[in-house]
């Protein structure tokens, strides 16, 4: 560079006659960039209230406040983030972490006020907060503030590619459909430790799942323990609320996963498989849990039915120090779970693992003891201080169409396949029903067909009243069934079982369904009488629902038992029926009809029983 002179600088003067480059703000508007990180916008419909934004905020600028107008539902809390612009640094981490992608930043950034209280507010969007958003033509810069914002003014918005959470779950290793449809081996292989930790690492700990779970398991805690590589600790957390992890880890209806905040834009965390991972990884429950029942109270409790509800009741009550006896007509524990879920989903060993642990707590099990047959209900009432009914639904319903007595009932079919000799099926099987039991039946049937008729062409078709969109079975189940080759005939109703000359089943006559539910939402199917179809079949299995068997209860007592309008036993808040000292839970009480709800009922009834027993003197 030259030393310079004193004349060259005067060249600057020519700029005097040029147009200035100044933006004449505010007379000339200047829009912020498309990605500008301005004030927050929250889509209240999408927001789950999970609170991840509040957790990630480095400044504590976000707190979750309860909005009384919003009804909480599974997967949605009635909380919404409240921003404090005296803290916010507009980094946008809250946007990148927001699992449903509800939170975004807008191009708005004007808020000038003499009152610091106006700087904190609950962000909404045009729908939930209409009076604070104005049309672009009514928008005035001079009035711009948190309560005067421009409509449709996008800024920094969420992008799943750059999200801070992992939207895709670690794939669960499974047996391929071609292979698994040939045998009863367990379909799901379970996570390895590495996979389980990777999956557990996805959890954002928002605890939406815990609220959705009927039994309120401490899900985020036990998943964190898995992530930290402490399956024993994880098991301890699970056992606080759920004594049958090996069972639930396989067949739980996973209300939690439906509620998972990750599921909105990605795949839900596989909470069930993680529980299963814990249950399978920990070999010795007793060593891991180190539980000791409370000192004996001397009170005696009888539990009828060793299903999930009964087992949980036994576990919780045993821990309280009561003497517990469990009656069940089956040769082992598990109740309906012992017979219902096919082997490829729930092997007997898994059930026995859970039952054996409960046994180790001092619970007395009387298997093969049918109440009403081997021992009368009246005797039980006399011998025990309290009784818990966890009998579940043990009778399959029939369609009651003509010749339906020739058909096989679902539960019989399943039970025989699981714990007795396998059923012989024909080459053409029709399964009536669209629920999960129907799926189990159909998938078992196709396995049996492959085993019993190797190399031959076999068909299992399913007939259900409901169309695809309202089919009650899980989507996953339907997908897996399809993969295995089940043919679906949705929206067809059975009319007639056709017999051939020898009285064997020839086929099923079906009608097209017009609608399944009436206007009030009650079940009352109507049909197009003129549209008919014949499904050829040599075996027909009915899987249209179950009912409870109360025949063991003496008539005079049964009359005292009160029922709800939906034909469920009516219980008070402690799970006690209208008969004093008789408690009930599970499928005979709730309408969810699944294991984890039975556990939840059992937890309630445990309190009730404990309360009840402490009030009566030791006999």
């Amino acid at each position: 560079m030259k030393k310079g002179n004193i004349f060259s600088p005067f060249k600057a003067i020519r700029h005097l006659f040029r147009k200035p480059k100044t933006l004449k703000y505010p007379f000339e508007p200047k829009e912020p960039a498309r990605r500008y990180r301005g004030f927050h916008l929250n889509d209240w419909d999408a927001c789950t209230g999970c609170g991840n934004c509040a957790d990630i905020c480095p400044n504590g600028a976000i707190i979750m406040v309860e909005i009384p107008e919003i009804k909480p539902e599974p997967g949605k809390k009635n909380q919404r983030p409240k921003l404090d612009y005296g803290r916010c640094c507009f980094c946008g981490l809250c946007v990148d972490i927001c699992p449903p992608g509800a939170l975004s930043l807008t191009g708005d950034y004007f808020h000038i006020h003499f009152d610091t209280k106006t700087f904190s507010f609950i962000p909404g969007d045009e729908k939930s907060d209409p009076e604070h958003f104005v049309d672009p033509q009514n928008y005035s810069l001079l009035k711009a503030s948190l309560s005067h914002r421009k409509k449709n003014f996008p800024g920094f918005s969420p992008d799943i590619e750059y999200a801070l959470f992992e939207p895709e779950r670690v794939p669960m290793p499974q047996v391929e459909p071609e292979e698994r449809s040939l045998s009863f081996i367990e379909q799901v292989l379970g996570y390895s430790e590495k996979e389980a930790r990777a999956e557990a690492a996805r959890c954002l700990e928002c605890k939406l799942c815990e609220e959705a779970c009927p039994a309120h398991l401490k899900i985020s805690d036990y998943i964190k323990a898995i992530y930290l590589g402490e399956p024993e600790e994880s098991l301890r957390k699970i056992y606080e609320d759920n004594p049958i992890p090996a069972i639930c880890g396989r067949i739980c209806m996973k209300h939690c996963e439906a509620a998972c905040s990750l599921s909105v834009r990605g795949e839900a965390l596989s909470i069930r498989w993680l529980k299963r991972f814990v249950a399978d990884t920990v070999r010795d429950y007793q060593k891991a849990l180190q539980q000791k029942p409370a000192p004996s109270t001397g009170k005696k409790l009888a539990i009828i039915g060793a299903g999930p509800g009964g087992l949980s009741m036994a576990y919780f009550s045993a821990l309280k120090g009561h003497h517990v006896t469990v009656f069940d007509s089956l040769p082992g524990g598990g109740g309906m779970l012992r017979v219902g879920p096919p082997l490829y989903r729930l092997p007997i060993e898994a059930i026995d693992k859970d039952v054996n642990y409960i046994k180790s707590l001092g619970v007395e099990f009387r298997f093969n003891a049918t109440v009403g047959k081997n021992i009368s209900f009246g005797d039980i009432l006399k011998q025990y201080d309290a009784v818990y009914l966890g009998i579940g639904m043990t009778m399959s319903r029939s369609t009651k169409v003509r010749n339906s007595e020739k058909c096989i009932l679902a539960l019989n079919f399943l039970e025989r396949n699981k714990i007795r000799e396998k059923v012989n099926v024909g080459k053409k099987v029709v399964v009536i029903g669209g629920g999960n039991v129907a799926m189990d039946v159909a998938r078992e049937s196709i396995r049996l067909q492959h085993i019993q008729h190797p190399g031959e062409e076999v068909v299992t078709s399913a007939v259900s009243l409901e169309d695809w969109d309202i089919m009650p079975a899980n989507k996953e189940e339907i997908e897996e069934a399809k993969e295995e080759g089940i043919r679906f005939n949705p929206a067809w109703g059975p009319k007639d079982v056709l017999l051939d000359d020898k009285g064997n089943i020839r086929g099923l006559l079906c009608m097209k369904v017009k609608r399944v539910f009436d206007d009030a939402g009650r079940f009352s199917p109507t049909f197009y009488e003129d549209q008919e179809m014949i499904l050829e079949a040599d075996t027909i299995i009915e899987a249209i629902g179950q009912a409870s068997d109360f025949s063991f209860i003496p008539k005079e007592m049964f009359d005292q038992l009160k029922f709800t309008p939906r034909r469920k036993i009516q219980v008070d808040e402690y799970g006690m029926t209208s008969l004093p000292g008789v408690f009930a839970g599970g499928d005979i009480v709730n309408t969810n009809l699944d294991a984890v709800t039975a556990i939840a009922d059992a937890k309630i009834a445990t309190e009730g029983v404990d309360h009840y027993l402490s009030a009566i003197p030791i006999s």
């Binding site: 200035p20 480059k21 100044t22 933006l23 004449k24 703000y25 505010p26 200047k30 912020p32 004030f39 480095p58 400044n59 504590g60 600028a61 404090d84 612009y85 005296g86 803290r87 916010c88 640094c89 507009f90 950034y109 004007f110 808020h111 000038i112 006020h113 003499f114 610091t116 700087f119 810069l141 001079l142 711009a144 948190l146």
Partner: protein, 186 residues
């Protein structure tokens, strides 16, 4: 300039003068200062509205407190603020003086600036953009017009309590009191 303007000028030249001749103290209190040079230079040119940086607090009537205020800066701010002649207006910039901002848990920054000196207006943002500063100036005009920018009066009237707060945060202040402290019980 329309008639209304002229009428206003004749009625209250003081107010109008202060409105259109805001000289800001040139004090880089925090990171918000980085947006002041663009505002006063060619891209945005705040001098169009008479906003200028003043070299000395004696000449200024606007104090932009730009961003976080550490304890040591607070002392300088109070000194500077007390040097400014009345009337004077203060504007707090960004999140940090409002409620601590991202330094909400720092042991060396103060969280609520209005506990120590009165603030006439706050601008949201981290940090506020030049546009927001312009809009803030127009808001300040409105406040001056309506006679609401009375922070300096508040300071004079509640000087005792302000001074008490200042000494709580800073320890004993070495300079004499600006105003005689009135008895609080009166």
């Amino acid at each position: 300039m329309d008639r209304n303007q002229i009428k206003k000028w004749l009625e209250s030249p003081g107010k109008m003068g202060h409105k259109y001749s805001l000289w800001a103290v040139y004090f880089c209190t925090g990171c918000g200062i980085i947006e002041i040079p663009p505002v006063i230079t060619s891209r945005w040119d705040a001098e169009r509205f008479g906003v200028l940086p003043a070299p000395s607090p004696r000449q200024a009537n606007l104090f932009l407190i730009t961003g976080y205020v550490s304890v040591k800066t607070l002392k300088a701010i109070i000194k500077t603020y007390e040097q400014m002649p009345e009337p004077k207006y203060t504007v707090g910039f960004g999140s940090c003086p409002i409620n601590g901002g991202m330094y909400w848990d720092s042991y060396n920054t103060i969280k609520h600036l209005d506990k120590y000196i009165p603030i006439d207006g706050w601008i949201a943002g981290c940090m506020p953009r030049p546009e927001a500063i312009f809009i803030a100036v127009t808001h300040l005009w409105t406040l001056i017009d309506k006679g609401m920018a009375k922070g300096y009066v508040k300071y004079r009237e509640n000087y005792g309590r302000y001074r008490e707060n200042q000494e709580k945060a800073l320890g004993k202040l070495e300079w004499p009191r600006l105003f005689p402290i009135k008895d609080e019980n009166e």
